[in-house]
């Protein structure tokens, strides 16, 4: 358990330290660490976390880190104690600890950095190096968001059967148009596509 918590701390500290360009650019970072590298959850579960993070108040980065920390701990315990000797209550409490560690450590790097800046330099102005850094990272941020869309566009999310895939592509195209052209809010669109899923499947 302790090993998992230390791993969660290091993982989310790293994500917080290297997250440039907002919540959407953070998605592939979390996806790589949580799904690909540590296998703490499936791509399906991760996509559901992003959906819920977009529908609930607060920054998407905080929401998804909190949820991912919870789910990672929950799944690891479920696999380790497949016999079921742990009570439901303890299971939830340990998962809450995991989500606390994830949220705390994703915030920690920028908290330290910004307090140092606020303490040391009263008049901070972005210097040449910081500006250069951001100019260089701009295309990377575009690539990160594109990767996050492609990573979530797999069979586990779009269905294995052809009929499911067609429905998924239609929902995806429809939501994209509604959001891009008609500026309909993400919550409305997610609820609508959820209801569609309920009706069709």
């Amino acid at each position: 358990m302790l090993i998992l918590f230390v791993k969660l701390f290091i993982t989310f500290f790293k994500i917080g330290l290297f997250n440039f360009g907002g919540g959407y650019a953070m998605i592939p970072l979390i996806q790589h660490e949580i799904v690909e590298k540590n296998h703490w959850m499936t791509n399906n579960e991760f996509t559901d976390i992003i959906a819920i993070s977009q529908m609930t108040p607060g920054p998407i980065g905080i929401n998804s880190a909190t949820y991912a920390g919870y789910q990672a701990t929950y799944n690891t315990i479920a696999t380790a104690t497949a016999g079921g000797e742990m009570s439901n209550m303890t299971h939830h409490l340990l998962s809450i600890t995991g989500s606390f560690i994830a949220t705390f450590s994703v915030c920690l790097p920028s908290f330290i950095l910004l307090l140092l800046i606020a303490k040391m330099l009263v008049k901070y102005t972005a210097n040449r190096n910081v500006k250069q850094l951001f100019a260089g990272l701009r295309p990377v941020i575009v690539g990160l968001i594109a990767a996050s869309a492609l990573l979530l566009m797999d069979s586990s999310n779009f269905g294995f059967a052809t009929s499911e895939r067609i429905i998924s592509v239609l929902i995806c195209a429809g939501v994209f148009l509604a959001s891009w052209k008609y500026k309909i809010g993400p919550i409305t669109l997610l609820i609508a596509s959820g209801l569609l899923g309920l009706l069709i499947y």
Binding site: S99, L115, L133, P139, S179
Partner: protein
């Protein structure tokens, strides 16, 4: 009500009621911090916003820390930071705990099956707007495509890519700067 409590509740309220990420919080923060409480002026607000954006991490949290520090030093930072994070944390926990018990429900599974393609669609919109505001050239456009392919198909850790590009762009910037400096002197 004392200052510390007001700081915390102000950011708690903002964190509790803004949906749509950090940028959606900006007008609310401005209204409360600049107009209502007059803790900082508009210029300071914009300066702090620039610093918050030029640092890694979650923008809304960074901004809350800086505003808190301006008003009440480290104590202010901690209070504003906590105020921003705690609502998200509690709401997500409530959902995560209840959801883990009926995730296997057939109806819930169907709802999420319909929602997953929508999540992808909702990433395409910020992708296009970010690509537009980035003013991509052929060179930087190719870099963006390379990053996409490396992460998606070569399974490379995005952290390494960010680190490599960050270091090389600072290095490149310095070389260009020194060259220009030398040329200026020789003229």
């Amino acid at each position: 009500m004392n200052l510390q409590l007001t700081l915390f509740t102000t950011f708690f309220k903002i964190g509790m009621f803004t949906i749509g990420g950090g940028l959606a919080m900006l007008p609310l923060i401005e209204r409360d911090v600049v107009e209502k409480h007059k803790w900082i002026d508009k210029k300071e607000f914009l300066d702090l916003m620039t610093i918050a954006q030029s640092m890694p991490g979650i923008f809304a949290f960074n901004f809350a820390i800086l505003i808190g520090h301006k008003i009440d030093q480290t104590r202010g930072s901690i209070l504003c930071g906590l105020g921003t994070v705690i609502p998200s944390f509690l709401i997500i926990l409530a959902i995560a705990i209840s959801f883990s018990d009926f995730k296997d429900n057939a109806y819930v599974a169907k709802i999420f099956k319909g929602m997953r393609p929508a999540v992808v669609a909702l990433l395409l919109v910020p992708l296009i707007s970010t690509a537009k505001t980035s003013h991509l050239t052929i060179k930087t456009g190719l870099l963006a495509i390379a990053v996409t392919l490396l992460i998606t198909f070569a399974d490379i850790n995005p952290v390494y890519i960010i680190l490599a590009v960050a270091l090389s762009s600072v290095l490149y910037g310095n070389i260009v700067y020194k060259k220009r400096h030398k040329n200026d002197k020789s003229c």
